[in-house]
Symmetry: C2
């Protein structure tokens, strides 16, 4: 990058990411111009990732870019959104490692093809602090059809997409605190670095879900966010929590299974969906998810009152800290 | 803030900033939901400010918040946009000074009243690096009416709102590199810390401008951005550059007036508008600006070819670096 500067990098690496979005104006203007299709509403979210806090120093910069985009797309997915674009504000570390900027653009290029979104704008700067990336992601939904956290009703079933806890194990592996067999190690690291935003489930959510949140802080915390926003309580059966083969093998080696399952349910970074499914539609929802290649499992339900009951083998667990908070 | 945590701060200080925007969902959901009025297009921009790079450490945090919002609103203003909201991604410095978070929320509260915008979402995190704020600002324009950088035609007049160079002098004062009389000192610091996004000129721009950019990198650089995006050159007469009384008094004390005017025209951070006004409508544009309380001055024009000619007292100046680049 020596000598190229801000405008050169934008022209060479970022403008190509905006070429399919005419409203991005080639990233040459003060702002982007977007049309929202008739009968649709815009959905917008923004999240930051900071080196050393949300990802480890030395992580492949392409993976960092992809995760920064994916965690935002996951927020859109939770609302049943059809995603179409994003803005990227990146603060490079001064004297950062070789290849950071190229890897970042490579990662964005890969994932915007994968998820059919375009770069629409943003900003580039640098500081003597950690690498920091703020992404704003955009999508749309049919008017009035967005799935909110606050829509759960008593009697709704709590369902979970994919598997829970892999990213938590992946972080332990990345930190050198855990050894897993080679394939399992690869799997949980992949799940840590490349969460799968469940955008493919947008239509199914809009049809069957009364509420939803993506699981970033941990299954228990985010199920709790849905319950609280809906003025309800919830029950969660940790025995029903869907696990990957890797997580199941890890679990089999743990002495205290209840504590191990609580770890998986509170580790966060899953970017699966915690869904309040209307009673009687659980099978139809699971079938719609399966048709999109995503498993969905029943793990509990929403109830009157404000209580969060986490049970395992018919015992109610006493949980001190249900999830990760960011500061 | 001790003990309050992320969710407490959001509920106590940020959620009130979102209360007039139903689509912000009380900042309790994964994303915000927005409707764009019929016949209008969305305009969206995002910019980052980093402590030590875009503002000095120790700056009043309310001023930092207001400038972070204002520089984004300025980008919207340059396109003739009616602004309505913003998302804020903030990374606090760990062990930052007392009052940072309160001051930040105070500043946003003040300016969102001033500019009739609402907080719509965002993110909060922390790092051991400098305080970093990324704002995404949103507005709308009548479909097809956005004023682009690329619309200038040969023969268009280059007009400038407000005055140029005050923020550059303000930065010198803030750094202790310049002493000005007390009132002038106050004026240029105010201009550094609180740029005036020219949102009030949105309708006038849409009526009379064929192109526009806001002046963040410096008058010469940003006039050049308009010219280049339009495939044109431009002429700029530094003698015609509008100056505040404070800048005029500073200028009167400089030995080399041409060099001093080049400093003012390249210092940046003005957040005024460089406008390509259709020939014959200059007076009407200036009158519309004056009706909104903003002066507008003719400083040059756009011409065929790609040349940037900066003149002063009938001499063409040779300018090495027309503006600030960010890394």
């Amino acid at each position: 990058m020596s000598g190229e500067g801000e405008f050169g990098y934008i022209a060479r690496r970022l403008a190509p990411l905006a070429k399919d979005a005419p409203g991005a104006l080639g990233l040459l203007d003060d702002a982007a111009i977007l049309s929202v299709p008739d009968g649709r509403e815009l959905v917008i979210t923004a999240d930051t990732m900071v080196e050393g806090r949300h990802f480890l120093s030395g992580t492949d910069p392409a993976l960092v870019a992809r995760k920064a985009l994916r965690v935002n797309l996951s927020d859109l997915a939770a609302m049943g959104t059809d995603a179409f674009g994003y803005l990227s504000c990146v603060t490079w570390p001064l004297n950062g490692p070789e290849g950071l900027k190229e890897g970042f653009a490579d990662g964005l290029a890969l994932d915007q093809r994968e998820f059919a979104v375009s770069l629409l704008g943003g900003d580039i700067t640098a500081s003597d602090g950690p690498w920091t990336i703020s992404i704003t992601a955009l999508g749309h939904v049919p008017r009035g059809a967005a799935v909110l956290r606050s829509g759960a009703k008593p009697g709704d079933t709590l369902m979970i997409t994919g598997t829970i806890g892999d990213a938590g194990l992946g972080l332990k592996c990345a930190l050198g605190e855990l050894d897993l067999p080679s394939d399992d190690h690869e799997h949980v690291l992949q799940r840590l670095h490349l969460p799968e935003p469940r955008l493919a489930l947008a239509a199914a959510l809009r049809e069957f879900a009364s509420a939803c949140a993506d699981i970033s802080d941990g299954l228990m915390a985010d199920a709790g966010h849905v319950a609280r926003a809906s003025g309800l309580g919830f029950e969660l059966d940790l025995a029903a929590m869907p696990l990957s083969p890797a997580a199941s093998r890890w679990l089999a080696g743990q002495g205290d299974e209840a504590a191990a399952r609580v770890f998986l349910a509170t580790a966060g970074d899953d970017y699966e969906l915690a869904v309040a499914v209307r009673p009687g539609t659980e099978e139809a929802f699971a079938a719609a998810c399966a048709a999109a290649g995503v498993p969905a499992a029943i793990v509990g339900g929403f109830v009157e009152g404000g209580e969060a009951r986490t049970i395992f083998q018919n015992e109610v667990l006493d949980i001190a800290a249900p999830g990760f908070t960011h500061f």
